[in-house]
Structures are given as C-alpha cells and as structure tokens.
C-alpha cells in the first residue's frame, strides 16, 4: 500500500499564519482522464487557473491530461489557453501567470483500455515529480464518459498506480475523483463501486456533486448550525412543507442523445437535489468533520420513505417539454431536438413528493422538482412555516398570503442569498398587515466574487477534505429512493410532451401539491 505523504503541517512549518494565509495544499500531480472533453475545458482548467491566480495551488503542481486525441504538450496547452480565456468566470486573465501555469501542463495521448497508456502516464509522473516537486502525491480525475470509469480504475490498479495495487508505484497519496453519474441505477452504482473498492479505499474516493460545492449550499450549514434561533423551528411542529426547485431555462442543446438516456430524475433529483434535501433536513453533526457530516446526510437519505409501486404515479410526476414560442423565438420541443428519438419517453421535468420517517420530519412533505425549458434558471429551497396557532387579527384581510405568511427561502442560484418573509403592519390607521421580506444577499454582504463550485471542490480534494463529497452509502441511499419511480416510469407510456417550453411544468405537478392543499411557489 502506498505511503501517504502528510499534507503541510502548520505545526511543523514555522512560517504558518492561519489568520492571513489561505489553507495551503500539499504538492501533487493531477491526472485528468478525458482531458479533451467539455468538463475539463469549461470547468476544471478555468478553476485550476483561478486557483493559481489566487496563489491557492501548491508550488509543487503539475497536470497530466489524457485523452485519445493525439496532441502534443504544446497543442494541449494552447487548447487549454483558449478554453480558460473563454470560460473563466468573473476573473481577470493574466498572460504572465498563464505562461507559468502552462509549463506545468502535460498531455499523454492514449486509449484508457491500453496498458501502454498507463506506462506512459507513470513515466510522466516520475518526470513531473522530479521537475515540479509534486511530492509523489497523485490525484486522478475521471472526466471521461461514465462507461470508461471502470476500465480506467482497473488499469490504474494493474499499473501500480492505485493505493491497493499489488506493486504500488512511488510514495504519496492516491486519490480518485469521480464525476456524476455514479452508475445508471442502484445495481450499476454498486457494480462500479466494487470496481473502485478493489483498488481505492473509500477514504481516497471523492464522488463529486458540484452542487454541494456551491457557497450557498455550504451556507445552509452555517445558517442552520451557526445560529441558535432557527434550529428550534426546524421540524414538523413549525414547518408545513419544503419545496426544492432546480429550474433551467435552456433545453438539452446538442446533448440530446446523452440526455435521453438520463432524464431529470436521474440527472438532477438523484444526482443533486436529494443531497440538497439531506443538507436541509439532516440532524446536526457533533463536529464539522467529513464523516460526521456525511453520516448525518446518509442517515437522512435512508430515512426517506421509499414509495410503493402503487404510490408512484400520485407522488411523482414526469414531464417533457413541447414546442412553444418564447419571447418571439420558436423553441423546439424535446422530441424535435438533435439526435433525440421522436418517440422518446425521457423526462425533461421530474417532480416528486418525499416524506421523511423520523421524529423531526414525520408528516412534512418535501416537494422536489427540476426541469428544462422552464421560465427561468433558478435553484432554491423554500421552507414554508405553519400558520400562527390563533389569529388575533380576525376581521382584517391578510391578502393572498392568508394564514401561512412565513417562508424562508434559501436561494442557491442566481442571486444567492436568504430571504425571510413575515407580516408587518401597514403604516396608517387600523391593523392591516402585509408581507415584507428580510433579505441577505451573499454577494453583496461578502464581496464581489465567490469561488466557483469547482474551485472549492478541487481545493477540498487536494486538502483531503471530503465533507462536500458524496460517500457510497449516500449514493446508494439516493438510488434507493428513486428506484421505484424509475421502474414505474420505465413501464409507463406517458402522453408526452405535457408542458410547453417556458411554462412551469405539467399540470399534474400542480395537482400533486394541490391534493395536500399546497401549491408550487413561483420563484
């Protein structure tokens, strides 16, 4: 087994200043499989460049990109230069910094199924360790198509590049980052995990969910557990229901063929929103440490009531967008998109009602919805509180907010922040009440730029902090939750499309809440 190099130890470095310095990272080599793909160009390299700009990267650092495409180091660097310039978010681009950063980028062309590819990678790792003092630490990032995950992991093991390899290569840590999806369903997720665990111990596996890396999702922890006033209200006695919405205004674009195999339920609800739900609903951990936090998240996910087959259609509604005219533009329906089967039964919209069987949340519905071609891009969590037990203001109109005026909205994107809605007296004679909003805007209270989710997550994995990463039990628990829905939907022929592009989804999704006397909030 490889010896793990200790990260920089503030006790050993006499020059450490935790009050003023950013957390520093141990040197490492980052091997990106699928380096010629979209994720690397749009997200990973811009995030790494930004980290270099902020002096967050360790001095000992190098990137080895791999893909099948034949590229030299120079050609790869040029390609990444163009990508970073194009996709860098809210940040200046410095040519001098790029020159320094680019000299640490290398490329190995090769087929991930070919052992010779890993021999070449091994040689390059030895070279960068010598030339860039990467300290023997290696981070493997699977940015490939999911179908390549297992072959890459197996080949890493066979080549001695994994911690549990029979003859490990070198010293230092070996960490593995896997992008979503982790399998296509519960069974394939378990199969993939078996492949992973043969060569990587769980502590070295980082399953990325970039939603958990968003500042505002992390802020849910700070909000809930850093303040004493909200937790006493955070249960079934005071919360009427919770709505979690992740809406996109765009369609599938050129990714139709990929998306029709996936759908909103897998892509968003299983992939991200159940993790957000867990963050909102979990018990506080005793300490803010990775496994303590993830234990509570996993416990919450396991507490979600699994729908019986007969309950699915009443409690889970799929949708597929049809053509519409939006703002003067003719928008295609999903079935008319490129490379999409005109008979596709893919859910571009998914909504579900979940119940949590524990003392805190018994009887409180959690409504989750996500979809493409909705009116706007927004991700938010809305916590609707119960009405006051007795209204002393009988006879005075409370308007359309009726008896449940109090709502707490946690806005994830855009306009990140928190709003609390409550009733206030309208100025003037009489006691007329109207709702007002108390607002905290993340970006305005804490400066102009927050790190992107990938910046945060890359720093965390380099630091060995898995708090924001998904553990296998969390993955399996979330697959368990959606499994009956997938099975029933898979065996049902829906009358698609059932919502117009630009609308808030199918009528049946409204009716699902209506049966409980609730309605979807319009963000």
């Amino acid at each position: 087994m490889a010896v793990v190099s200790p990260p920089p130890n503030s006790l050993e470095n006499p020059f450490e200043d935790p009050l003023r310095f950013e957390r520093r990272l141990a040197p490492l080599a980052l091997v990106i499989f699928g380096a010629n793909g979209d994720l690397t160009m749009r997200k990973l390299l811009p995030a790494l460049y930004r980290l270099a700009y902020e002096r967050r990267l360790p001095a000992g650092f190098a990137v080895i990109g791999n893909s099948r495409t034949g590229l030299t180091d120079e050609a790869f660097r040029q390609k990444m230069y163009e990508s970073v310039k194009q996709f860098l978010e809210d940040s200046a681009f410095d040519e001098d910094l790029w020159q320094e950063f680019a000299r640490k980028l290398y490329y190995i062309a090769g087929d991930v199924n070919d052992p010779a590819c890993y021999t070449a990678i091994k040689a390059k790792l030895a070279e960068v360790e010598r030339d860039h003092a990467t300290g023997g630490n290696i981070l493997y990032y699977l940015s490939t198509q999911p179908s390549y995950y297992a072959p890459v992991i197996e080949q890493l093991g066979a080549a001695g590049l994994a911690p549990k390899s029979a003859t490990p290569f070198g010293n230092g840590y070996r960490r593995l980052v896997i992008e979503k999806p982790f399998g296509h369903d519960l069974d394939t997720s378990r199969v993939l995990n078996e492949v992973v665990q043969r060569v990587f111990p769980e502590q070295d596996v980082y399953r990325i969910d970039h939603y958990l890396g968003k500042e505002t999702v992390q802020n849910v922890f700070a909000f809930r557990f850093g303040n004493g006033i909200f937790e006493p209200l955070w249960d079934r006695r005071y919360v009427n229901h919770v709505q979690i919405t992740a809406a996109e205004s765009i369609g599938v674009g050129g990714r139709g063929s990929f998306y029709q195999e996936t759908g909103a339920l897998r892509d968003m609800i299983q992939g991200h929103l159940l993790q957000i739900m867990a963050t909102v609903a979990m018990e506080p951990s005793a300490v803010f440490e990775p496994d303590a936090v993830r234990d509570e998240r996993a416990k919450l996910l396991r507490s979600i009531r699994i729908l019986k087959p007969g309950e699915v259609l009443e409690n889970a509604v799929p949708g597929q967008y049809g053509a519409a005219r939006i703002g003067g533009e003719e928008i295609k329906g999903f079935r008319q998109e490129d490379k999409v089967n005109p008979e596709a039964q893919t859910d571009t919209f998914a909504s579900a009602t979940f119940l949590v069987d524990n003392w805190r949340w018994a009887g409180v519905p959690f409504y989750i919805r996500s979809g493409k071609r909705l009116p706007k891009r927004v991700t938010e969590i809305a916590i609707q509180f119960n009405e006051a037990p007795h209204s002393v203001f009988s006879g005075e109109p409370l308007g359309s907010f009726g008896g449940r005026p109090n709502m707490l909205i946690l806005r994830i994107q855009p306009e990140e922040g928190i709003s609390l809605r409550f009733l206030s007296k309208q100025p003037g004679t009489g006691m007329r009440l109207r709702p007002v909003s108390m607002d905290f805007n993340y970006g305005t209270s804490f400066g102009a730029r927050t790190p992107t989710a990938y910046e945060t997550l890359l720093v965390d994995v380099m630091a060995g902090d898995s708090t924001l990463y998904t553990r296998q039990d969390m993955v399996e628990a979330s697959w368990q939750v959606v499994k009956p829905i997938m099975e029933v939907w898979g065996n049902t022929k829906f009358d698609f499309p059932n919502y117009d592009a630009g609308s808030w989804g199918p009528r049946a999704a409204e009716e699902m809440l209506g049966r409980n006397g609730h309605q979807w909030r319009t963000p």
Binding site: F15, L19, S445
Partner: protein
C-alpha cells in the same frame, strides 16, 4: 454661538436618506435599495485628503456605517456633520446596494466634542474599527475616549510622516491591550506566504534550522518598515540566532521590497521580484513563480478587516521592532 453637533440629529438625517432612497426605488420600480451594514468604520483624516474612492471600494466587500472625521487646521472653530449613503448597482442587478456614511468636520479646537457624538453614532452589535488615515492624529488625546470602543485600530506606518513614531504609538496601543493593525504588515503578506509555501516542501523545511542570515533588499534609500517587518518575522519564526541585513538596490522600481535571501550552511533560498506582477522562488535546483497582485489601500484594509481578533503573529513581530 459655538457650533454643536448631535448624534440624534445625524441619525435622523440618515433615516431620511434611507427613506428617500427607498421612495426613489419604488418610483423607479427597481425593487428599492438594500441597506447593508456589517461593521462600524471610523476614518480619521487630516484636512481635505480624499478617501471617497477607498471607502467606495471597501463598501463592496464590507458594507459599513462609515464615519469620516476630518480634522482641519482653521483659525475659526468648526464642527459640522452630514449624513449620506454610498450606493452602487452590482452588475446585472436591479437593486442598488447602499452603505451609510456620516461626515464630521472638526478643527483642533472642536475635536474634543467629537468623541461624544461619535459614541452615539455607532451601529449597535457590530464591530468597530478605527482607521487613522493619518497616523499623526494619534497624538491627539481626544481619541483616547474612542479607542476602548474599537475592536481594532489601523494605521499605515510606511506612509506616515514619521514611521518610527507611528510604530512606537502602535506598540503602546498594543501594550495597553488594544487590537492593532498596520497596512505595512499587510503589504508583506504575499512575501510571507511565499516563504511559508517554500517551507511546505519537506526538503526545504529540513534545512530551516541551518539558516544563519536574512537579507532583505529594498528599492528605497532608507529601510522601510515593510522590510523590517519581513526580516523580523522570518527571524522570530525561525527562533535561534540569525543575522539580519538590509540592502538598498538604489534603483527606482514599481515595488518596495526587491528580494529576500535566506542563507545557511549549504543552503540558499531566495524570493526575487521578476516584475510588478511576479516573484520567483529559488532554492536548491527548484524554481517557481508566484503572482503578486497589485496592492491598493482598499485591498490592504480589507485584509485587516478580515482579522478583527488579536493577531498574535503580528503583535510578536511588532514588539521586536
């Protein structure tokens, strides 16, 4: 009749400012304004020196109730105040963000009347920071009444008329138990971080015990406080006996500290400015370049605002000067 100033009156004026802004927002249908306040900041300024741009930059990251106290040299006593708001529209948003500002103008004769007004102007339950834009104002005893209320007192010894005197004042404040900050210290954070990063590497760290001398080369003729802070920090972090040497490059450059060299038996490590944006770190056969961002008064202040608690490392080095 002697000029008077009342905190209540200024606060009413501030309330009117918010009401007008709010009405304007409703009329223009822009969703009103967002009143943001995370801190109290007292800025002590001599004369008419402009601090508006710095304050505007600061408010984007630390929206505060800012009280600007101008001390002017005039024959006729003067004591005036007014309330205003600093607003900006973040890109892509419809709602303005506004932070509040109160300007007080006093002469030396009326300065004694300002602490009692300022005490009534603090926004409650928020930290209080006092920035002496002109460190010379520290010599006025009138400010002693305000210092106990401050979580932190910030000066810039490098830009003061008498850096030695400013350091002495800072040391006295620190001994008296006040939280203190010096923008000259914040100026060297990236240098310090570079040193720390160098010694993150085990092979370099193993040689830290062998370091015998520290040489700081600066571009000015005399040794600036930044050089002294850097050298004393390295020396105090290493412990043991190390000699400190200061050299002048005697060349005008766009930066102040040109290089730092650490030397010992069989070991030399240097951090040298390549240009206005970068330094190069060298030790053994290892070389690396690091970005050094451009520093402005507001970026330095923001760093100090991030450290509102006591800063033991800074205080240890300050005591050595």
């Amino acid at each position: 009749m002697a000029a008077t100033l009342q905190a209540d009156k200024l606060l009413r004026e501030l309330a009117n400012v918010w009401e007008e802004l709010g009405k304007h927002g409703v009329e223009e249908n822009t969703g009103g304004v967002l009143r943001a306040c995370a801190m109290n900041l007292l800025v002590c300024v001599q004369g008419d020196v402009e601090v508006g741009d710095t304050i505007a930059d600061l408010m984007h990251e630390f929206p505060s109730r800012v009280i600007v106290l101008r001390v002017k040299k005039r024959a006729t006593p003067m004591l005036e105040g007014r309330a205003l708001a600093q607003c900006w529209m973040p890109f892509g948003r419809r709602q303005q963000i506004c932070a509040e500002q109160i300007e007080l103008v006093a002469t030396q004769d009326t300065l004694r009347d300002t602490p009692s007004v300022i005490r009534g102007l603090w926004a409650p339950e928020l930290p209080v920071v006092i920035w002496f834009r002109h460190a010379a104002l520290l010599e006025y005893p009138e400010f002693e009444m305000l210092l106990p209320m401050a979580h932190k007192v910030i000066v810039d010894s490098r830009d003061s008329e008498d850096p030695e005197w400013t350091i002495t004042q800072l040391q006295a404040l620190q001994r008296a138990g006040h939280g203190v900050g010096d923008l000259a210290w914040a100026r060297i954070t990236r240098w310090r971080e570079s040193v720390a990063q160098m010694f993150d590497h085990p092979a370099c760290s193993a040689k830290s015990g062998a370091i015998e001398s520290i040489t700081v080369t600066h571009t000015s003729l005399s040794t600036p406080t930044t050089s002294r802070y850097l050298a004393e920090w390295v020396a105090s972090s290493l412990g043991g006996n190390v000699t400190i040497d200061y050299k002048s490059l005697r060349e005008t450059r766009a930066w102040e500290i040109h290089s730092l060299e650490l030397r010992g038996e069989g070991f030399v490590a240097t951090i040298v400015r390549k240009d206005a944006n970068q330094v190069e770190i060298r030790w053994d056969c290892y070389t690396s370049a690091l970005m050094f961002p451009k520093l402005t008064q507001s970026t330095l202040l923001l760093e100090e605002f991030e450290v509102l608690d006591r800063d033991p490392i800074f205080e240890r080095v300050l005591a050595r000067l």
